[in-house]
Symmetry: C2
Subunit: 167 residues, 2 copies
């Protein structure tokens, strides 16, 4: 008995993306109720040299889309990173969930020892599948979901821990 690669990833990642979608909806409703330009919230940051909400959502999506595609050995869809509204972000999350759920357990399971190599700018990374999932995708994914939450909380949006965790 143990945890499969699929069970350790897709169900929880898609649940968290659904929670993120609901959190963003509350952000949009907050902006509307307060008569704020929603671009202020969408561009919100924790620090001037940290990514804004849009980029936090984009990266959270890409960790699932590109990360799970690498594990499955398939080509992920390409997104243009041109989201500027809450509606745009909702669409990106929905497309990411659709792609993630299109991956079958048999494409993900058994990849614990699969070699994964990729580069980001000048940095090269090498992992095996289990390590890539547990020490790269997972902490990065939760980082960007939490920071998106923190940005909206910082702006005054009335969300709580149960919105983050989901039911």
């Amino acid at each position: 008995m143990a945890i499969s690669m699929y069970q350790a990833s897709i169900p929880q990642f898609t649940k968290m993306l659904t929670n993120l979608s609901k959190i963003l909806k509350k952000g949009e409703e907050f902006a509307s109720a307060k008569g704020l330009d929603s671009k202020v919230l969408v561009g919100g940051q924790i620090a001037p040299d940290m990514f804004p909400l849009t980029k936090q959502v984009q990266i959270a999506c890409d960790l699932v889309k590109n990360g799970m595609a690498r594990i499955a050995g398939v080509e992920p869809p390409t997104f243009e990173d041109n989201e500027i509204t809450f509606a745009d972000l909702q669409e990106r999350i929905a497309k990411t969930i659709t792609f993630a759920l299109s991956l079958k357990p048999e494409q993900i399971n058994g990849t614990e020892a699969k070699e994964i190599q990729f580069s980001i700018k000048e940095w090269s990374f090498e992992f095996v599948g289990e390590q890539y999932l547990l020490t790269w995708i997972t902490p990065n994914f939760y980082f960007h979901i939490t920071t998106a939450y923190d940005i909206l909380r910082h702006q005054g949006v009335e969300i709580g821990k149960m919105d983050y965790l989901g039911s």
Copy 2:
């Protein structure tokens, strides 16, 4: 081939706590270099009704300490939640790592279907082991580590994503 309950928890959680320790050290050094009262950073918040840095660190530790003790079926050590300085927080993290590493793989493995029940205030929770680890401990743990990071970033501490992820 699959991921063991131990492998999905203790090594990565203790690594992240070590990263948190280093991030807090950079926070303390920042306060010292700027001539700031370090209590300002330790009490830093993302929103007035969110927990300060101290509590974020306490909860991150408790998720590992209490969560993994529940999974292993042992009594966790009790901490008094009386940390007020960076040194206090470092001590709590160190004690948490020591406890986590005292749990043997054979105490954690095979608990995927183990029934876990607990209460927080008026809420009761019921999980099986795998679900408790993947949908409760893990997202909560990363939430509090990331929010601790975001609080320090918001205060201007020079930390980056690689400090969060560790090497």
